[in-house]
Symmetry: C2
Subunit: 317 residues, 2 copies
């Protein structure tokens, strides 16, 4: 069955006809302008991108202990994908259609990491099993909340895939999931998009520094908005618009996110700044994505009933 | 129609028969052990407590400008209510049945306050109108999210009603609403419970320092759990258990909240600490209640599907 979707191309989800596949044999560990693209695609392309787990499968494939991992191979991103016509100042639009994951994953603890770095005594791995829409861990059952941890475009300077920022990267935001659309500011020609670090389950905070970490495949559409870009990643879900702000200091991330939110509300509604501050105080939520990466990620949530068009907010962020 | 509820008393929501009324003529501005009770009630009492708005109605009743407010009369709590048999080490259980509010409220901005204190140039008031389940502000319509800002028990030392803490107080947590149950550690004989600072709408963060501030009435049940108390307020909603931790420093509030959450998960499940850290990383959310009070309030959310009995978590917090 051939479907003609909103994205304006013919594709078939069953045969994968019309879908560009990118396997996980080519990965990178830092976003940078000198990455060699694995493929060049036009805007509106549908891709199925395969990913390794955040440990580059070292714990699964080679049976290493946590202490034996090669830490230079953490958070591999598959790609990069060069998007034809993408130039600095444009927005790369990433519509996430489907996330498929392996049915087993691994969490780890490492002394000195996570939200409680001083309390972690042991390097440990714990296996998590995916059963339908649940995750089983040590006999406890939690709801699966599939998501993408690392997703971004190349930065003008080299940025480790472990770090979140204006380009995306290690956003570790659980709403980056099926049905969501991420808007990323293009910094270099071709955008040089990549992703990895899938989680079957991760809570806000990602407190132990990992979720249920798995390899998998992501089906997505890459598109462009020319000559307009947000300053920070903007995420659109069914009912919300988020702006994702990362900073070494959590409080500073909060302040910058709120400042962006109030300014965007003011410009999108025509309310003056003080009125927008009041409106934000009633209707905008300040939320935490993660507190364990080199920069912490805070998100502000704006309800779509107030701003139905993401571009109303996006262009003012 | 007389109903016999779970709370084990006869009452009639229509005639208010069996419901103890506390009007807003007696308020206090600091929780302390020497407060004079306005009423003494046995456990399992149903009360309807009337509240003034957070400005002690100064802007509404007297028509003052924001700059003319008597700031010593901010955040009045109605009460206190003495609960017979309540002793230090017990838990006061507050089941919130219904919140009724005035149909107009006020937000204000004040230079030097809120999440962006340096950007506020003007002291301003903005009126918000309640229309059904919506709030109208300057022609914009936002969803009403009725909640109680100040709710707590007396502390051994004097604590302003503007400050949140282990005793509750100015928690400014939007899930403190109809249908929720708050568990507060009793610090002084009789608990000396009070509440105020109702909001018709307030986002996580309460970024401008006020929500849509209104007077109103809260229908609730006060009950006791003897000889067991959480260290911080615990809040139970339909699907979640929250622990509410407040600290001058946002990051320290996050750290303390996560530490409590991991320890509680470990003890409630039998998982060892490292395993509980991993489980928390998948299923526990770190959320922000407010970032504008003298202490910031962070909440951790634990899904009830994992911990159906709030006491499993409460006693370990």
């Amino acid at each position: 069955m051939i479907k003609r979707g909103q994205i304006g191309r013919c594709f078939d989800l069953n045969t994968r006809e019309g879908i560009i596949r990118v396997d996980s044999s080519r990965v990178f560990y830092a976003f940078s302008p000198d990455l060699e693209p694995v493929i060049k695609v036009p805007p509106r392309s549908i891709l199925e991108i395969e990913t390794n787990d955040c440990y580059s499968n070292q714990l699964v494939d080679t049976g290493l202990f946590v202490t034996q991992i090669d830490w230079s191979r953490i958070n591999p991103a598959t790609g990069p994908v060069y998007v034809e016509g993408a130039e600095p100042g444009d927005t790369l639009v990433v519509k996430i259609l489907k996330i498929e994951t392996a049915d087993e994953g691994l969490l780890i603890t490492v002394p000195g990491t996570g939200a409680l770095p001083d309390l972690v005594r042991e390097a440990r791995a714990g296996r998590c099993y995916v059963v339908g829409d649940k995750v089983v861990f040590r006999g406890k059952v939690v709801e699966a909340r599939k998501m993408i941890g690392v997703i971004g475009v190349a930065t003008r300077e080299r940025t480790s895939t472990g770090v979140p920022g204006r380009h995306g990267g290690n956003l570790d935001t659980r709403h980056v999931t099926e049905g969501s659309t991420l808007y990323l500011p293009v910094e270099v020609e071709g955008a040089l998009f990549g992703l990895g670090d899938l989680h079957v389950a991760m809570g806000d905070g990602e407190v132990c520094v990992t979720g249920c970490e798995v390899g998998g495949k992501v089906l997505l559409v890459l598109d462009l908005i020319k000559n307009a870009a947000p300053k920070w990643p903007v995420l659109e879900t069914e009912d919300s618009i988020y702006v994702l702000v990362s900073h070494e200091d959590l409080s500073k991330a909060v302040t910058e996110a709120v400042e962006i939110g109030v300014k965007a509300i003011s410009r999108a509604t025509g309310l003056d700044w003080h009125e927008a501050y009041m409106l934000a105080s009633m209707a905008m939520d300040v939320e935490i994505s993660q507190v364990v990466d080199p920069r912490k990620t805070v998100r502000i949530r704006l309800p779509k009933y107030l701003f139905p068009h993401v571009t109303d907010i996006m262009k003012f962020t």
